[in-house]
């Protein structure tokens, strides 16, 4: 890649500002509340944008572009079905309990509502998950920097071996994220997430604009692509008729309900931003504010994937990247007989230089390069620096959110609860600071683990999905049924995870072999796609947790009602809304959002 002085200048400016914000915030970090909870003093719009940015890590940006190239506009279900309804629910119904209970983290809420063992289970699994997610982010970023040869020219000039690029990228990202969180805590992380939000918009909007103009606008894009690519609901009645391989029920129930509510309503990574606001009403508004840009994000991150497919391959620039630096012409020549995928290169084995094919002899495509290749294809030097900065920013803030969540859960839920009670606030503040260092070191460890065992990350993500899948049932019953007991919640949660593992072990996507993809106990059912299997795993885990929690709660002794005020819906006074203008009331905003999301689904049906 040919980066000029101007591209570097823009990237370096961004890093200067990121660290500068950290330094500027340092003097406000006086108590542990300032550090872990941003002093509970941030405005709702900032937290709202951070709420979606925390989730918009680079895997999300790269992954959504890739999936747009692979499946088309149907990918937007992950936003319109798989996020908006859950964000509305957490804002209107759940936030009063998180914020009002004075819990400092999601695991702490579980302790207030249930008991110590439920909290400990959730805190431990969550802490491990955040460290690995941050490590995966770091690994993905270093890989991308290596693939795009961003540092090549600089390294050649310094006479450093090019193999060091990977280590260099890991080192730099670790130092920067460490720096700004160590200095400014959660405030720093949230500020940088908002900065990243605007950079993504600033970097991707012109990309979509120029790209669409090049392929002849929306109508040109539609005519260049198969019908299913531009219609999100086509063939949804039968899993075999649509590219996702899922039918509408699994989509609505598995993705729209279990997985999405489990993530947006219980994951402390996003909830921590809402809990940093100054009032309860601001906290309720955070997910609702976040839902508005979230609704339109498919046009920024999925559309480039579609444009990448529609961009004629013959116009490919020699500078476009293929994996591991194999020359583009060679990779393209080999695919002469294969279907035209525009800017998407085929996967190439880095050691032999041969194109990787599936069992039917068709080449495999590297969809993850959809977004990077779009940047290289459409952006001249100057704005290219901006586009790359946006991409790097999303990697960093993806890491940062995980690190601050790890800090809080470790310090409050594990260290203060089980290791060192009743220390001074200054002690916990410094524990939090140093936990940042430990968190980053663990992330680096996880990133290198991923380089040596590629399957380890897939396996871990699978295990996390087992732990997360049943989670929402516990929160739903805990907040809306006063009879739910701690024993019920704990046993339900653990059994839900076990159900997820068993379901995975007994089923298999049609084109996969037993092993990491499932069927490692026996194959009693086959799903048309891996996605369908994931959704049904979640549905089974949720249902098992729900049923067992109810049964065991009925058999065990509930807590006295006065203890549950502020923690359970029916026993808590409803939030006061009469002083707000009608349009600022959470329920009114919620209805507006639902109308908008239905309209979007109708337009792109």
């Amino acid at each position: 890649m040919n980066l000029t002085f101007i591209d570097w200048l823009i990237m370096i400016l961004y890093f200067v500002f990121v660290l500068g914000i950290g330094f500027a915030l340092k003097r406000f970090m006086k108590t542990s509340k300032d550090f872990f909870q941003a002093g509970r003093a941030l405005p709702a719009w900032i937290c709202g944008l951070a709420f979606i940015s925390a989730n918009l890590g680079a895997q999300e940006v790269i992954g959504m572009g890739a999936s747009g190239a692979k499946y088309g506009i149907a990918t937007s279900h992950f936003y319109w079905i798989g996020a908006i309804p859950a964000m509305i629910f957490v804002g209107v119904f759940m936030m009063p309990f998180y914020y009002g209970s004075k819990a400092r983290s999601v695991p702490e809420f579980l302790r207030l509502r249930f008991d110590e063992k439920t909290r400990a289970y959730n805190a431990c699994s969550f802490a491990v998950m955040t460290v690995f997610s941050s490590g995966i982010s770091m690994y993905a970023m270093a890989r991308l920097i290596q693939t795009l040869h961003i540092f090549d020219a600089a390294f050649l000039k310094m006479n450093w071996p090019l193999e060091w690029e990977f280590h260099f990228a890991i080192f730099i990202s670790a130092i920067i994220v460490l720096g700004y969180i160590f200095l400014g805590g959660l405030t720093s992380a949230i500020y940088n997430e908002v900065l990243q939000f605007f950079l993504i918009v600033a970097g991707f909007m012109p990309l979509v604009w120029v790209g669409l103009k090049n392929v002849g606008g929306w109508s040109g894009l539609k005519s260049a692509l198969p019908l299913a690519y531009t219609h999100s609901w086509k063939g949804m009645t039968n899993p075999h008729d649509n590219p996702l391989g899922v039918e509408w029920f699994a989509l609505a129930m598995g993705l729209g309900f279990v997985l999405s509510f489990g993530y947006w309503c219980t994951d402390f990574l996003v909830i921590q931003t809402a809990m940093a606001t100054d009032t309860e009403e601001a906290a309720r508004r955070v997910p609702l504010i976040a839902a508005i840009p979230k609704m339109f994000f498919p046009f920024l991150v999925i559309l480039p994937g579609l444009i990448a497919i529609a961009t004629p391959a013959m116009m490919q620039h020699a500078a476009l990247q293929t994996p591991a630096g194999v020359s583009t012409t060679a990779a393209l020549a080999e695919t002469a007989g294969a279907p035209d995928k525009g800017l998407i290169p085929v996967k190439v084995n880095p050691t032999t230089g041969k194109v990787i094919t599936d069992e039917k002899g068709q080449p495999l495509y590297d969809y993850d390069l959809a977004i990077p290749n779009m940047l290289l294809r459409y952006f001249p030097t100057g704005i290219l620096g901006l586009g790359l900065t946006a991409l790097l920013a999303s990697f960093m803030s993806g890491m940062a959110g995980n690190v601050t969540a790890f800090n809080t859960v470790w310090t409050y839920d594990l260290y203060q609860s089980y290791i060192h009670k009743n220390a001074s606030d200054a002690h916990y503040l410094s524990v939090g600071r140093w936990t940042t260092v430990v968190g980053i070191l663990f992330s680096i460890g996880a990133a290198y683990l991923a380089t040596s065992f590629n399957n380890i990350m897939d396996t871990l993500q699978l295990v996390f999905s087992f732990v997360n899948a049943p989670l929402f049932a516990t929160f739903l019953l805990g907040m809306f049924w006063k009879r739910t007991t701690g024993h019920g919640a704990f046993i339900g949660l653990v059994s839900g995870t076990v159900a997820a593992i068993i379901h995975h072990g007994l089923t298999l996507p049609t084109d996969a072999h037993p092993g990491i993809h499932g069927g490692w106990i026996a194959v009693i059912h086959q799903y048309p796609s891996e996605m369908a299997q994931n959704f049904w795993t979640a549905i089974w885990a949720f249902s098992t947790n729900f049923i067992l929690t109810v049964l065991i709660s009925l058999m065990t002794k509930p807590r006295p009602e006065p203890e549950l005020v502020g923690l359970v819906y029916s026993l808590t006074p409803k939030p006061v809304e009469h002083h707000m203008e009608w349009y600022a009331r959470p329920k009114v905003i919620a209805v507006g959002l639902i109308v908008m999301v239905v309209a979007l689904n109708l337009i792109f049906r």
Partner: protein, 85 residues
């Protein structure tokens, strides 16, 4: 929190937008714009970012000088007495 995010963010966008605008002005008619469908995207988008940055910065500076609105009675409920510790 005493640092309004709009101030540093406005500054960053103003500087980056300014750099892109200037670069766009100096490279008018250059062949590098063949990629971006013939548009001088540096100039156009640089100006957009410049305007956004200046607006954010101004808003941030203005809000810095204004006192905050008082909290409404009853909007934040006294909860969380129930748990036993």
């Amino acid at each position: 929190m005493n640092l309004d995010l709009r101030i540093p963010m406005g500054l960053l966008f103003t500087i980056v937008g300014g750099i892109m605008t200037l670069y766009g002005l100096f490279t008018r008619g250059s062949t590098i714009y063949e990629r971006s469908a013939g548009m001088n995207i540096n100039l156009i988008w640089g100006l957009v970012m410049l305007i956004f940055g200046v607006t954010m910065y101004t808003l941030g500076r203005r809000a810095d000088k204004r006192p905050r609105a008082p909290v409404v009675e009853g909007a934040t409920r006294p909860l969380g007495h129930g748990h036993g510790h």
